[in-house]
Every structure is written in C-alpha cells, then in structure tokens.
Subunit: 98 residues, 2 copies
C-alpha cells in the first residue's frame, strides 16, 4: 500500500510567489527519486501563506531514507527550507478503506 | 477549479476502530451532497490516532453552506464529532499548478 507524505507548510507572509516559483523548480528534484509516485501542492484559501504538500511514495523509506539521504535532498532543502516559519512537521499516512 | 477541504482529525486514543466504523457510515452522508466529488481518509503512521480527511467539492460553498446547512450534517456531526479532541480546524485549499 502506498504511503502519503503530508506536510502543512507555513510560508513567511509576503514570500508566497517566490516560494511557489522555487517549489516548481524543486518539483523536478523530488519527481526523479526512486519510489516517488506523485506530489501536489495546495494553497489555503483562509490563510494564503499556508500550503499543503502531499507526496505519494511506494514505501515510507523511499522518503525518509531514499530521498532524505540523497544529494538531491540538499538542493531541495536549499531551495525551500528558508521559506518556512515554523519548520513543518512531516508525517506519513496510509489510506483507510471506506 | 475544485476546492479541497482539509481537516487533521485527532481522535481520542483507544477509539480509533470505533471512529473508523462510524466514519464508514458517515461517508454515505457526505457522498450524497450536491457539489461533492470525492473524499478520502488517511491514518497517520507516526501517531495512529491522527487522521487526515480530504474532501473535494466543486465550490467551497458546497461545503460551508450546502453541507453544513443541511439536515444531513446534523447526523454527520452526531456520528463523528464526539471522537475528536481537540475539535479540528477545517480549511479549504486550491491546487497550485506546478
């Protein structure tokens, strides 16, 4: 069963456009990693500086070990991490059959 | 552009199975509402009592006015709201083109 990585990203207000441009560049990095399936970025209507990042991976380790342990992750971090305040909590989820 | 309703649900620890059963029943309620497109429930691997609910609506008002103003919402609430602690923040998101 695939794993959904979920992070609520609070971007420093006023830097949303810059963040979105950097995120587009960073998207090509994550999309090339083993075990990656898809990712999406959503922007909050109530608080426009808040974003929801969802990434589907084949296995949790594809994210926590494969991606985070890769040289590409350093570029991802350099592109994106300075936009966040506070630094996001990242969790992993499995779909519940309904 | 469709709207994603997002709620991080913290369920009282120990009541997860009961919540999931109630949620399955409640699923038929929300799925019959005008403007509803799909919904999913995900369970957190790090904190097993935390769930991510996502619901796609055609318009935000389909949720905030249509669903919440309907008699069916009272049943949804009666089935589910007593499982949450604290009561969740519900927000709405639009997808960012990447």
């Amino acid at each position: 069963m695939p794993i959904l990585e979920v992070a609520m990203l609070n971007v420093i207000p006023g830097r949303e456009s810059e963040f979105e441009a950097a995120f587009r560049e960073a998207s090509t990095i994550i999309a090339s990693r083993p075990g990656y399936r898809w990712h999406r970025l959503h922007r909050c209507l109530e608080e426009g500086w808040r974003y929801l990042l969802t990434v589907e991976w084949e296995r949790r380790e594809d994210h926590t070990e494969g991606f985070r342990g890769s040289p590409e992750y350093r570029l991802w971090r350099a592109l994106l991490h300075h936009f966040y305040d506070p630094f996001p909590v990242v969790e992993h989820f499995v779909e519940v059959a309904l």
